[in-house]
Structures are given as structure tokens and as C-alpha cells.
């Protein structure tokens, strides 16, 4: 299992019918609601903790031969632990 500390990545590409896509999205929705999404393949694993301030973008595009619906959910990893106490500036020196 690869575990990258800086930029963890996961990618999944497939052909599905509408019911399977719904199921997949549904499990992502459950993950968003509970603040934990685990994506795992043979080599990589990524655990995400969506918080309750999410940037949500929907983009749609329709062309003659192909349509595309992009749904993007992103968020900032605000380190809440860091704000219980102001960090000492010496850390940057």
C-alpha cells in the first residue's frame, strides 16, 4: 500500500449503468454526511474527512455527441488542533 504524505491521490474510472452510479454516489454522500470517506485500491488508500464547510461546484456541458456533468466537492484542511493555542513564532525561524 502506498501512502504519500503530501499529495495522496486516488483515481477510479469505469463504465456503469445508472443504478450502479447512483449506489456509488450514495456511498459518497453517506461519507460526506459522516465526515469520513475511504477510497482504496490495491495499491493506494486515501482517507478523507470532509468537514462542514465544503466548496461545491456543479458544471454541466452538453455537446452533440457527448454530455458531461462535473460535480466537485473540495474543502480546506483547517487544522483545528492548531487553533487551541497560538503557535509560537519561533517555529518559523
Amino acid at each position: 500500500m502506498t501512502h504519500l504524505s503530501q499529495n495522496e491521490k486516488f483515481e477510479y474510472e469505469s463504465i456503469q449503468d445508472n443504478v450502479s452510479v447512483r449506489d456509488f454516489i450514495q456511498s459518497l454522500l453517506d461519507g460526506i454526511e459522516h465526515g469520513r470517506i475511504i477510497l482504496q485500491s490495491n495499491e493506494d488508500e486515501i482517507i478523507m474527512h470532509p468537514n462542514n464547510l465544503l466548496k461545491f461546484t456543479v458544471k454541466a456541458r452538453k455537446k452533440e455527441d457527448q454530455s458531461r456533468l462535473n460535480i466537485k466537492v473540495s474543502w480546506k484542511e483547517t487544522k483545528l488542533a492548531a487553533i487551541t493555542k497560538p503557535k509560537s513564532l519561533t517555529a518559523t525561524a
Binding site: 462542514n52 483547517t78 513564532l89
Partner: protein, 548 residues
Amino acid sequence: MLNFEGIDENLKFIVMETQTQVGAILDLLRMPSTSGYEKIVPRDDYIDNLKNIIESNCVAKLTAEKNLSKEDINEIRAIQIIGNNLERIADYCVNISRQMGYMDNPEFIHEFDYETVFPKISESISRSYTVLKDRNLAGALTICRVEYELDEWYKVSFDAIMERLKVGQNIQNLITVLFIFRYLERIGDALLNIGEALILAIIGEKIKIHQFQALQETLSRSGFEGTLDELDVHSILGSRSGCIINRLEQRRSNWSQAQESIFKECNLSKIRREKNNLELWAEKYPGLAPKILGYYEEGDKGALLVQFLAGRTLDEVILNAAEEHLHNAFFILKQVLEEVWLATRQDGPIDTDYLKQIRARLPQIHHVHENFSRPMNQGTIKVASSEELLSACAEIESRLLSPFAVLIHGDFNVNNVVYNHELQQIHFVDLYRSRYADYVQDVSVFLISNFRIPIFDEVLRSRLNWIIEKFYEFSSQLALSWQDRTFNARLALALARSFYTSTRYELNKEFAKEMYLRAHFLMEKVAGHHGTGRPWEEFSLPISVLYY
């Protein structure tokens, strides 16, 4: 183009504001109105101020940095000349607007062609920034040529006016039109200076740096008896309030520290308000606000000389000071606020106007960020437009009264709080917006003034997040103990206001958008809660919206 911190952004702003001023003059000529005239003068103060900031930044850069190349130096000089001449153009705009008052029939001017010159002027102003950035010599020459075109137009107009004067009617109107056209012709001269400065930056021909005329004038009018060379002007502090602010210090050692002072010159109504507010604060909470050392009025300007308060502004403390200082500063701030709010509390209920404040600033927001208004989305996904949210929240706000009023700071930015570590004192400065109002206004402005500091370094950001968290904790606990049941709901609206209106000062598109989106998120939350019919004390403020 070089990225000179602070200069570049202010140059963009002065270009934009001067262009707006020229547009406002065209509107005024087309359709004269008192409200049109009243907007021109305050904007001119802001432009003056931007010019001063650019000027002082340029000079600071030239004096502080030893390793500047000849190209760098030329560019800094060019930026300074551009700033000066844009400000001059803005002054001519004010003069034109004043001339309009001398016409007994303002529509008389429509008998002459003034429309053709405006697109040329406006385009030259707006291009001055991109020409510099792209080192576009042809663009610089085009700007220079506009002066020639304006001269040509002026000659034709001048002759036409002379012909009409011979008839002997409408003398006053004709002469006023002539004066107005003369100012437009002089705008051409200023554009030529800008064009020449651009050429200097692009091909590197030397020119003379302009003197600090505005500053010298200000100093000579300050009421100080000493001569200019006895004064150290420590900094020319700019603020977006449109005031000119200088810190003055006597060089001679026999002057006591008490004579260090801040000199502030502003339009009359603003400076009078500040003076009255300083007196009110001196009565309610002596020592918190600076003492008034001198005051004078002249024409439509007023000037105030106030005590210089030694210490550091709170943003400096948050970003630079040792933890102990930060903790002390925050501890004292909390104490002072609680005391002030308790001592000045007047039972209500009172109205708030957060949504009205957003509406009043929408034109400026859209001027900087055209697309910061959301259309309505219908269909599978339904999303309320900005307009719908603003209306819905205004309606909600009218019923969300504050249970009491306190004497608020009115512009409670983190940099309007001064902390003196040696004396363990907190002071408030810039009090011209002080009034009896909902304390949530100050809470919100304070929180967002920390949020919007464009610093993204993890350690510094965590300090900003820390003060935000602690300040929210402090104010919400007070609200709870005072049984202020709608605190969180009012705060959500006030925060929406602070986020939305802060975008007009933020040119970092991504960061500005973040604030714009957060404002909408908060308005949606408030509107959503209203839809549930549950009492407002159950409204839960999404605290994460405060952290970046």
C-alpha cells in the same frame, strides 16, 4: 513588470477609481443631479489618498532598497508619475462638477459636443496599467496622442463658443462651458505626462522625480510652528477612509513625547464626526481614545491633531509579537470591551442594518468583481439568487432586533486597536463611525478584519484563527449571560455583510471569491432557519465559516 508589494495593487485601484470618476462626470454632464455631485467629492479624497500611498511606497522603495537596477528605478518613478497625474485628472473632475453649479440651465451644455472626448480619456486611463505591465510602447504613444486629439477638439469647441459669445446671449452659460472644456483639455495634458512616464519605464529615459507637494502642503497647514526640516514624518499612513494621516514627531530632543501626534485631514463632515466621537469617548471611557490636541476647519476640510498613542496595532501583535504579549493584549481587550459595553448599555430593542450596508456597497463590490452576484438557478437544483437572499434576509433582519444598544467603535478593525505592552493598555483609534448600535456590528467587523488579512502562512494563519476562535467564544458567552437570544442569527447576517463588503478591497480573486461564497452560505443558513419556523435562539452559527 516588477511586483512591488502594495504599489501594484494601489495603482490598479487608483486607475479604477479615476476611471469611475471620469464616468461619473460624464453622467453628471448628461444628467445633472445633486446625488451625482455628492459622490464625486468623497471619491476624490479616496483618490488623493491612493496617490499619497503610491507616492510614499515608491519613495520608500527608492530609498530603502540599495540594489535596484536602473530599470527598477525608472519603473518606480513612472508609477509615481502615473499616480500623480491620475489624481490630477480626478481633481479636474471635481472642478468640472463644481462648474456645473454656475450654469443657470445645466442642459445648455448639450448644445456642444463633449461626448466624443470621454471614451478617449476613459480608455487612456484604463490602459495606463496594462501598457506598463506589458511594456507596450505603442500603447504608451497612443496615450500621448490623446493629448493632441483633445487639443484639436478644444480648438474647435473654443471657436464655436466664441462665435456664440458674439451673439451676446447666454454669456454665463457659455463661459462656464468654456471653463469645463478647458479642464477636459487639461486632462489631456495629464494624460501626456502619463504617456511620457510610461515611455520612461519602457525605454528608460530619465526624468525628474516630482516633489512631495501634497505632503508639504499638509504639513504647512498642520498648525505646527516649527519649520519643515524640524519634523520627522514617520510614515504616511493610508487608509481607505479617504483621510490623509501623518505621524509627526519633533526632532529636537527637548520636545516631550506628549508632543508626538497624529495629524488627520479629511472632509468636514467626517472630521467633525470624529471629533465629536472622541469627545464622547473621553467622557464615557477616559483614556481609551486619543486626546484631541488641536482642531481647525477651513472651507470644506477639517483637520484634527490628536495624541499619538505609543504601542502596536493589534494585528501587529497577533502576527509578530511573543505569545505572552498576545495573551495579555487579548485579555485586556476583553476586559475593556466588557466594561464599555456594560457601562454604555441602553435598553432596546433596536434595529440593525446589516443588509442595508451590503446593498449600499454593492456597486463598489461589482466595480471590483463584476460577477459577484449570483443568478437564480432553477430546475433539478434550485438555488436562490443573491438578490433573493438579500431581500429574504433583509425581511428577517427587520424582525431580529438587538435587545440593547452600546457605544460601538463603528470600524472595529483589528488594526484600529492599539496595544501598549509597557503600560498594559488598550486604545481605540479611528472612531469617526462610533455610535450607539448593536455590539454585534463590532464583533463581526473584528472577526472578519482578522479573517481577511491575506496571509496564508500556516503558522501566522493559525494565530489569526486563534484570535478569531477566542473572540467568538468571548462575545458569544457574554451574549449568553446577557440573554441575548438572537445573537448568533444577527452575527450571521453581520458576518455576511463583512464578508461580502470586504471583497471590494481584495484583488486576490480566489480569496475574494471565498469571502463572497461564505457571505452567501451564511445568508442561506439564516433563510433556511427562518423556513423551519424554529425560534432564533436555536439558530446554530456554522463556526467553521470563520476560519481559513
